[in-house]
């Protein structure tokens, strides 16, 4: 690989959230990235060349980062009168590694829910099979809404160093997606003892039973690699909405679906019987410390 691999950021049907996320990366890490890679094009940044120049040149792209969902329907979205599907395939033809940045690029995300256009999908589905087969590596999906900037940077540095990266069954890097959002949540003890928070924004209480938290069934590093190096959704009292999983976005996202007061879904790979047995035991005991406020302000 080149000493400074050439990176092109292609935006399709997107809210721009992953770009926002990347540009909010730790400044030192972003500087290291810009010094280690040659970011030849990003639509939100000034560059010497535009997309047409790149398509018309013989130069190869080492990393094609795709943000946003893909559609062939130019009535809804086009770039210079071309569909995002056509542009994606043309760019992929000159690319070594394709990374789908965010849930929309990975599998369609929010935009795939749009009812008036059923032709909105992710990169894997939109890429011509012949072109995909010529890539050096399987398409890497960085699911998330948005994706954490570190997940992008770490993925690229790993591939730059090793030429490959281990993926899970959804083609997500295992380094970032083998843990659950639940791991590292500061509310774990409340989860253990079934002490629930009754509204958002509290320091105390679990958000799983009443607030719709998907942390125990969502693969992500949100509580391992903190956002803005400080925090995460669940740490501030906002339930995880499971944005890295392919069923995102779900209906009634901030509700825990229950039948007869029993959660419909249990933590990942935990059987209903096991979950209910432990819950029954935990709820039997009222731990005084966990019922009280963590801090009593003067």
């Amino acid at each position: 690989m080149r000493i400074k691999p050439r990176v092109l950021w292609f935006q399709a049907v997107t809210c721009n959230g992953n770009t926002h996320s990347l540009l909010c990366a730790n400044p030192n890490r972003l500087e290291l990235f810009l010094n280690s890679f040659d970011l030849i094009y990003h639509p939100s940044l000034t560059s010497d060349v535009n997309l047409t120049d790149i398509l018309n040149s013989d130069d190869k792209i080492d990393f094609l980062l795709v943000e946003g969902a893909i559609t062939n329907n130019t009535n809804f979205f086009s770039i210079s009168n071309e569909s995002t599907k056509d542009l994606l395939n043309k760019l992929a033809l000159k690319t070594t590694y394709v990374i789908a940045v965010g849930s929309c690029a990975s599998y369609g995300g929010v935009h795939a829910k749009f009812e008036l256009n059923d032709d909105i999908t992710g990169v894997q589905t939109s890429l011509d099979k012949k072109i995909a087969s010529k890539l050096r590596h399987k398409i890497i999906n960085l699911t998330g809404c948005p994706v954490h900037p570190e997940w992008i940077l770490q993925t690229m540095f790993i591939i730059k160093a090793q030429g490959k990266i281990q993926l899970d069954e959804e083609q997500r890097p295992v380094e970032m997606y083998s843990t659950l959002a639940h791991h590292g949540c500061t509310r774990n003890e409340y989860f253990e003892w079934k002490v629930e928070s009754d509204h958002y924004g509290t320091k105390e209480g679990c958000l799983f039973y009443d607030q719709g938290c998907r942390g125990p069934m969502t693969k992500s590093s949100c509580n391992k690699i903190l956002w803005n190096e400080v925090n995460s959704k669940t740490r501030v009292g906002m339930p995880c909405i499971g944005c890295t999983e392919t069923d995102f976005p779900r209906e009634n996202m901030l509700e825990t679906k229950k039948h007869i007061g029993i959660p419909f879904e249990t933590p990942l790979d935990i059987s209903k019987r096991a979950y209910l047995s432990l819950t029954g035991v935990a709820k039997t005991f009222k731990i005084g410390r966990l019922q009280n406020k963590l801090i009593e302000y003067d």
Binding site: H259, I260, G261, I262, F264, K272, R273, L276, S277, G280, V281, K283, T284, F285
Partner: protein, 161 residues
């Protein structure tokens, strides 16, 4: 059992320990039966009928199991206060009832309601009838009431559009 009282204390450190073990043992028998029914591929209504039948069979064949629950466990809570708090000693059975009720609501056979109200409809009817059987006031064999009781339980829980 042909075992002396003294010999019992080789296995249990106190009467309370024996009492707690007995309640766990006896409810686990009923829990195992309900687990088997829960795992069957039948409707929740049929599960209610089948479990009611099995429960009444227990009342008839091993009345001491249900009697122990009603007349010892429920009536002497202080004996079980330490180590059998809440559902601790009857947890396996309660878990199976939860699964039965949740499956029923999920399949829209039972209507949505609070777990405790649904639980009391189910177990209240069965426990109440076990009490009547223990008092020897029933006019017919206890098994003959099984379907009627199950029908009452089902109607109390069933889903309505």
């Amino acid at each position: 059992m042909k075992m002396s009282v003294g010999n019992m204390y080789n296995y249990f450190s106190s009467k309370e320990e024996l009492a707690k073990y007995a309640i766990k043992y006896s409810t686990n028998i009923i829990a195992a039966e309900l687990r088997e029914i829960n795992n069957m591929d039948i409707s929740s209504k049929d599960k209610v009928f089948l479990f009611t039948q099995k429960y009444f069979q227990s009342i008839k064949e091993s009345p001491e199991v249900v009697e122990y629950f009603l007349r010892v466990y429920l009536s002497n809570r202080e004996v079980f206060a330490n180590g059998c708090e809440g559902f601790l000693c009857v947890g396996d059975f309660v878990t199976e009832v939860m699964i039965l009720l949740e499956d029923g609501a999920k399949n829209k056979e039972f209507r949505e309601q609070d777990f405790f109200t649904a639980f009391s409809m189910f177990m209240g009817a069965l426990g109440g009838f076990a009490f009547l059987s223990g008092e020897n006031v029933l006019e017919r064999d206890v098994l003959e009431y099984s379907d009627e009781i199950a029908e009452n339980i089902y109607r109390a829980l069933k889903y309505e559009d």
